[in-house]
């Protein structure tokens, strides 16, 4: 029995992924060749038996709406279940007011009328697998007001700058939520994932609005740390927070390693996505591919190494693609050498033969661009 409404939240204003985010909300961003980031939270919910799911979009909803469709491909029951795409219309006018709280308030009726006592709120910009049904059980058993999911990392000095960190006491009680300033390497990164009673959620949303029109859900939960019993639950397995450009690149590249990929993809926990009906990928005599993840519908005549290749990419003869992430439909022309780059959708690299960035600072080619 599903007892929770699933809410998938958008990235707040403090998060911006250079280049890529200009074209689509982060949730609709292509990931590991054939997925979009939002496939992860939705599949987590679907696999956890949550079939009332609301996806909130802050801006540019087209690609998101197209990808989600009726939600049928996420294995959500088409009669008893529901996948809604919601956004804050007022927020579009003035970005200052375009917060998750504003979007929830505008759609309060949709939230209230769903007959679930709990809510599970997950971000559309983080990649991880989690059984929300177990998390909900843990939450109920702990009798806490709010349960937050976190991931312990040892590289918070170099990464996760747009993330919040949790300060916990020994009993996993949350003492505070702060932005990661990169001043310590061992941190508990808050995964922007919450479990609480729906009534409390609604109460917090209303309270937030009263306190400040700029408040987000994180802000109000942060403000309530002293008042409410908020607990942290540690997440295990693969975790990536796509909250800056480097993080996006690194998350893709890290999953080229099969062992790492296996810590994210469990055959018993399928990640669903929308099919594109592409045929298998064709490799020619001159092709050479090593340590890579390749999606369907590609034509490979050149060399690919340590890269993620999206659907329908073309790699021509004598082209070299190294340490790069190619989004669907990208083309690397004959003799072109691209290294340490993210190549956005349908971009064509033809005339510029050396497209190489420094490994610690990967480059970006715009969508539909011809080089």
């Amino acid at each position: 029995m599903s007892k929770a409404l699933g809410i998938i939240n958008f990235a707040g204003k403090h998060i911006w992924v250079d280049g890529l985010q200009s074209y689509r909300p982060l949730g609709a961003l292509s990931f590991l060749g054939r997925y979009r980031i939002i496939d992860f939270p939705i599949s987590n919910m679907s696999n956890s038996g949550i079939d009332q799911i609301q996806v909130y979009v802050r801006r540019k909803p087209r690609s998101m709406v197209e990808h989600l469709g009726t939600g049928r491909h996420y294995n959500i029951n088409s009669k008893r279940g529901k996948l809604q795409v919601l956004f804050s219309e007022n927020g579009v006018e003035n970005d200052v007011y375009n917060t998750d709280i504003a979007a929830y308030l505008e759609n309060m009726k949709c939230i209230e009328e769903i007959n679930c006592p709990y809510v599970v709120i997950a971000p559309s910009y983080m990649v991880y697998c989690e059984n929300y049904s177990s998390l909900l059980k843990t939450h109920i058993e702990s009798e806490a007001d709010i349960t937050l999911l976190y991931h312990t990392v040892d590289n918070a000095k170099e990464a996760y700058f747009n993330c919040n960190i949790l300060e916990l006491n020994r009993q996993k009680g949350v003492l505070s939520i702060e932005q990661n300033h990169g001043n310590a390497k061992n941190r508990n990164i808050f995964m922007d994932t919450y479990v609480m009673k729906k009534d409390l959620f609604i109460e917090l949303v209303r309270k937030a609005k009263k306190m400040s029109s700029m408040f987000t859900l994180t802000d109000i939960v942060k403000a309530e740390c002293g008042e409410l019993d908020i607990r942290g639950v540690s997440h295990r397995g693969f975790f990536a927070s796509v909250t800056d450009f480097k993080a996006y690149y690194d998350a893709n590249i890290s999953l080229i390693d099969l062992k790492t990929a296996k810590s994210l993809f469990d055959p018993e926990w399928p990640i669903y996505t929308r099919t594109n009906d592409s045929c298998p990928t064709q490799y020619f005599e001159t092709g050479s591919v090593k340590s890579s993840v390749v999606s369907n519908g590609c034509l490979v005549e050149g060399t690919v190494e340590n890269s993620v290749i999206g659907r329908g990419c073309v790699i021509k003869k004598d082209a070299v693609v190294k340490n790069s992430v190619l989004l669907p439909g990208a083309m690397v022309g004959a003799g072109v050498h691209v290294e340490n780059y993210v190549v956005d959708k349908d971009a064509k690299l033809i005339r510029g033969k050396e497209i190489v960035a420094a490994p610690e600072n990967p480059g970006y080619i715009k969508r539909d661009d011809v080089l």
Partner: protein, 379 residues
């Protein structure tokens, strides 16, 4: 029915016994092809892409899987209002005894009531076990243009092979004068593809007569077409140009898969204007390991390649472990080739494991080896 007033019926009851173990549990139209498809995806996708809304699929042999597979018309976009895929196995009716489909024409005769509910003007008859891409709307336009009673799609085959086919002898206008089933001395090389368009009212009458004829084989090629020619009906040959394969044997199924490895091959599954639709699999993209070697291959999602793959087609979720070699072979969905194993000129059936260091098939074998059972490893 609204789009072109033509209803399609796909004959999908055949076993395809020369495919051996591959068709022990499923009918031939459900056999895998091309890295991710089943053969019946081709006529179904062609229908969908040609603007045909209603498709009847006539099943008989081992039809459980096929019935549930084709019933999900959504896969091919055949699920809008007044559109759908109807599974039609033999059934008991109020006015007739339950009987198997005795021939291709009988399969249609037994479903006259079904066809009548849509009252189409034209009926398209297709075979469920051929691999090709064809726009049936163009064929219908030709049928209308010729003011034909029936139009039969034909393909030019090499003259020396013509005696293996049903051969149409047509005059210069394309009108069929004579039809010969597997002639010893063929007069032309226009082979019937088993694709027919009939005017439904006229065909209906012929079928009603055919049911009552005790000497009939109830077959389109043997009975209906000859009868129409005898009656001087207007039958026209519609010349098809392009890739077309009837894969009857393991060798020809293997060969049809190998055809996909050629650059600019005729079937062109990557043609975005004429996609072939199939079941969606929730798998990862395919993984290529650090020591993998891939050359001339057609590889689907979900595969993991850590060894060598050459001149081969790998279906959904097939795996090739480190130091293993897969050469001139086809690995069907979920086939596993373990470390050090060598697979040459073989077709490995779905889910079959080739154990460590095992050797399967050989480079100079006359026929392709079908591996349908687990092969034990060698320690």
């Amino acid at each position: 029915m609204k789009q072109n007033n033509m209803l399609a019926m796909i004959l999908a009851g055949g076993r395809g016994s020369r495919l051996h173990e591959l068709t022990n549990k499923v009918a031939k139209p459900a056999v895998f092809y091309g890295g991710k498809y089943r053969i019946i995806d081709f006529p179904l996708s062609n229908c969908a892409n040609s603007g045909i809304d209603v498709v009847g699929v006539l099943t008989q042999y081992e039809s459980i899987l096929l019935n549930s597979y084709v019933a999900a018309g959504r896969r091919w976009g055949l699920d809008a209002k007044e559109s759908g895929v109807y599974v039609l196995p033999p059934r008991e009716k109020a006015d007739a005894n339950l009987d198997v489909y005795r021939g291709t024409a009988d399969a249609i005769s037994q479903n006259i009531d079904f066809i009548d509910t849509f009252s189409p003007e034209y009926l398209l008859i297709l075979s469920g076990d051929h691999i090709y891409k064809m726009n049936y709307a163009k064929m219908l336009a030709y049928h209308k243009e010729c003011n034909a009673d029936a139009t039969i799609a034909v393909i030019e085959v090499p003259m020396r092979e013509a005696s293996r086919f049903g051969i149409m002898n047509a005059d210069e206008t394309g009108r069929i004068m004579e039809f010969e089933e597997k002639p010893e001395k063929p007069k032309s090389n226009l082979a019937s593809m088993g694709i027919y368009i009939f005017n439904w009212k006229a065909l209906r009458k012929l079928l009603m007569d055919d049911i009552k004829n005790p000497d009939s084989h109830h077959d389109f090629g043997k009975d209906i077409i000859p009868t129409m020619l005898n009656e001087d009906k207007r039958l026209f040959a519609y010349k098809f140009k392009g890739y077309w394969k009837d894969v009857g044997t393991i060798d020809s199924l293997w060969e049809a898969n190998m055809d996909l490895l050629d650059k600019n091959n005729e079937l062109d599954l990557n043609d975005l204007t004429w996609k072939i639709y199939t079941e969606d699999a929730a798998t990862l993209p395919h993984y290529v390991g650090p020591d993998a070697k891939i050359s001339r291959a057609f590889i689907n999602q979900g595969c993991v390649i850590e060894g060598e793959v050459k001149n081969s087609v790998l279906f959904t979720g097939a795996t090739v472990a480190a130091n293993a070699k897969v050469i001139d072979s086809v690995l069907m969905p979920g086939a596993e080739v373990e470390e050090g194993a060598v697979v040459t000129r073989a077709l490995v059936a779905d889910g079959v494991k080739i154990g460590k260091n095992a050797v399967v098939g050989s480079a100079d074998s006359e026929h392709i080896e079908l591996v349908s059972k687990r092969v034990k490893g060698v320690e």
